[in-house]
């Protein structure tokens, strides 16, 4: 009979069962590691060289030269860092406040709730580059609706995206328009997991709407609020689409909308200074890691 075959089959299926954890997750982990670790290692390697314009040409190790160049660049790098932080903090704090307000408005059932939810979902799924083009037209100084709107009320128009002083706030506004719904949806999902009893109890004790939200509901939702905060700030920190689509590769003629993301892109693909760009990317990567870690630590401490 075929007993060796049966024995082999049994052995194989035993092996599969023993190792199923890695058989099932291995391919995905290998895929991610391959596309994550190798490029990061390559970037780290290039960041210590003077690679530029063509990678085929020979390049040399320059030690920490690129890092010194980047970290002492007060003309473009540090302003880009400042703008990135300003953009993130500004846009995300407005998004958190408005998002919480919208979530509270949508909390209790009402007629037409479905329609409102569908509408706030639209900016979220609309293609960011197309959204950027739309706002480009609305904020166009001569033909845009924004200035027409202001003129209707007798107010002077603005240069919006074109002027160095208003470009960044205008971009923050676009980010707020597109991503406030995300915060609202997350907080709304969080609100549904919060039991109503503690709030009822507080109401019985005479707490007003604001007190009930601040002292009862909010603490219960702490983990959702932190999740939304982490998600949005990490995403805002790496914003690329709307910045590139409205202001181009350099962030405008005076680099007025240049964030670290746009700066890294420009150094690499416009200036072809690969070594230097790699150093920027390493610094940027570390910044994002620090941001995430800080928020997770803050969250742990809060709990």
């Amino acid at each position: 009979m075929s007993s060796p075959v049966i024995a082999w089959r049994a052995a194989i299926s035993l092996w599969v069962n023993r190792n199923r954890k890695w058989i099932l997750s291995g391919p995905a982990i290998a895929f991610i590691v391959l596309l994550l670790v190798i490029p990061l290692g390559y970037t780290l390697y290039l960041s210590f060289t003077d690679a530029g314009s063509s990678l085929r040409a020979s390049f040399h190790f320059t030690g920490l030269g690129n890092y010194t160049n980047v970290l002492t660049d007060t003309r473009r790098f540090w302003p880009a860092v400042y703008r990135t932080v300003l953009f993130t903090v500004g846009a995300v704090s407005v998004e958190m406040l408005l998002g919480a307000a919208i979530a509270l408005l949508l909390r209790r059932e009402f007629r037409g709730q479905g329609i409102v939810r569908v509408i706030i979902l639209m900016p979220l799924v609309a293609t960011p580059v197309a959204v950027a083009m739309l706002w480009r037209l609305i904020f166009e100084p001569t033909i845009g609706f924004a200035n027409e709107f202001l003129r209707f009320f007798g107010l002077p128009g603005s240069e919006w995206l074109s002027s160095p002083s208003t470009a960044l706030p205008t971009l923050m506004f676009i980010d707020v328009w597109q991503w406030t719904p995300m915060v609202a949806l997350l907080l709304l999902a969080g609100l549904t997991t919060v039991p109503e009893e503690p709030e009822e109890a507080a109401r019985v004790d005479g707490a007003n709407v604001f007190q009930r939200f601040w002292f009862v509901t909010l603490p219960l939702m702490r983990s959702v609020v932190f999740a939304a905060l982490i998600l949005r700030s990490v995403e805002a920190f790496k914003t690329f689409d709307i910045l590139y689509a409205t202001k181009g590769a350099g962030g405008g003629s005076m680099h007025e909308a240049e964030t670290i993301n746009i700066y890294a892109y420009g150094i690499n693909f416009s200036d072809n200074r690969y070594g230097l760009a790699s150093a920027v990317l390493v610094v940027f990567f570390i910044m994002v890691l620090v941001l995430v870690t800080l928020q997770i630590v803050a969250r742990r401490r809060g709990q």
Binding site: S25, I32, A101, L124, L137, L281
Partner: protein, 288 residues
């Protein structure tokens, strides 16, 4: 008023159906109406502009009242020949989503069942890392093996976006599936992997749909990867839209018509699968 008395009044008022005050209701209707206007107006504006001629776009007196024309859409699909870019977006989106599911579904299952914390943290890392710090080295590495400009490099890069997204969504989905069903199937003679394929997999179709739809939306909307990795024949829609922006002038009507054409399909998909999209976007946030 004592606590008990107050509770009694509250109960009574609720019975009468007067729970929120009248002033609050008025405030709420106004607030909700402004929310709706703020989020929908720009999109309405986009559609209006796409139906205007370049001259009407420049004319403030024709802000809302103008004679609509499909001229811009003719430019998009005729002169600008946008259909191939639709095909590219579709190919990259569908193929990367399908392949990602093959990787992500079993992985998420294993990570959920065996509580693989370290692996799931690494998946999270792949989600928080700035795309630009990967796409730059990818560009060089893909260029070395001659993949830049082809579909392969774009599909792989989009998969890098969707695999972690899917794993993240599906872990929280599998966490809610009772393990007892699989155990029962194993008692009936199925192997553990057989129990996963025959019992848990059919039950997880809603989760898989959520992950798939969201991954497709993210792929359709992705700009940076295609900007760097695509060739002139493999451009996806978000990159092709720049065809309407010349050095000297912008074809606003065409640009808006192209934006409408790109956005309408993805909004339609999201509306149709609204429940899945919302549950996917909020997956993992409410637990922890």
């Amino acid at each position: 008023m004592t606590r008990r008395a107050r509770a009694a009044t509250l109960r009574a008022s609720r019975r009468r159906g007067m729970r929120p005050s009248r002033a609050y209701n008025v405030f709420r209707v106004i607030a909700l109406a402004s929310v709706v206007v703020v989020f929908i107006f720009p999109l309405v504006w986009l559609v209006l502009a796409s139906l205007k001629t370049q001259i009407d776009i420049y004319d403030p007196s024709k802000t809302f009242i103008f004679s609509p024309t499909l001229h811009n859409f003719k430019t998009v699909f005729g002169a600008q020949a946008f259909l191939p870019f639709f095909r590219n977006s579709l190919i990259v989106g569908v193929v990367s989503t399908a392949l990602s599911l093959v990787f992500a579904v079993p992985a998420a299952y294993a990570m959920s069942r065996f509580s693989m914390t370290k692996s799931s943290i690494m998946v999270l890392l792949a989600r928080v890392i700035p795309s630009i710090s990967l796409i730059v080295p990818w560009y060089f590495l893909f260029a070395k093996i001659g993949m830049v400009g082809g579909y392969g490099a774009m599909i792989i890069s989009h998969m890098f976006l969707s695999v972690p997204l899917m794993v993240w969504i599906l872990i929280s989905f599998f966490d809610t599936l009772p393990i007892e069903l699989e155990e029962a199937a194993q008692v009936d003679g199925l192997t553990p992997i057989g129990a996963f394929v025959r019992v848990s997999l059919p039950l997880s179709i809603p989760g898989i749909a959520t992950a798939g739809i969201l991954a497709f939306i993210f792929s359709w909307n992705n700009f940076l990867f295609s900007l760097i990795l695509s060739g002139s024949n493999t451009k996806t829609l978000p990159v092709a839209i720049f065809n309407f922006i010349g050095y000297a002038s912008i074809d606003w009507g065409g640009l808006m018509a192209a934006s409408v054409s790109i956005t309408v399909p993805i909004i339609a998909i999201a509306m149709f699968f609204q429940r899945y999209v919302v549950s996917g976007l909020t997956a993992g946030a409410t637990k922890g």
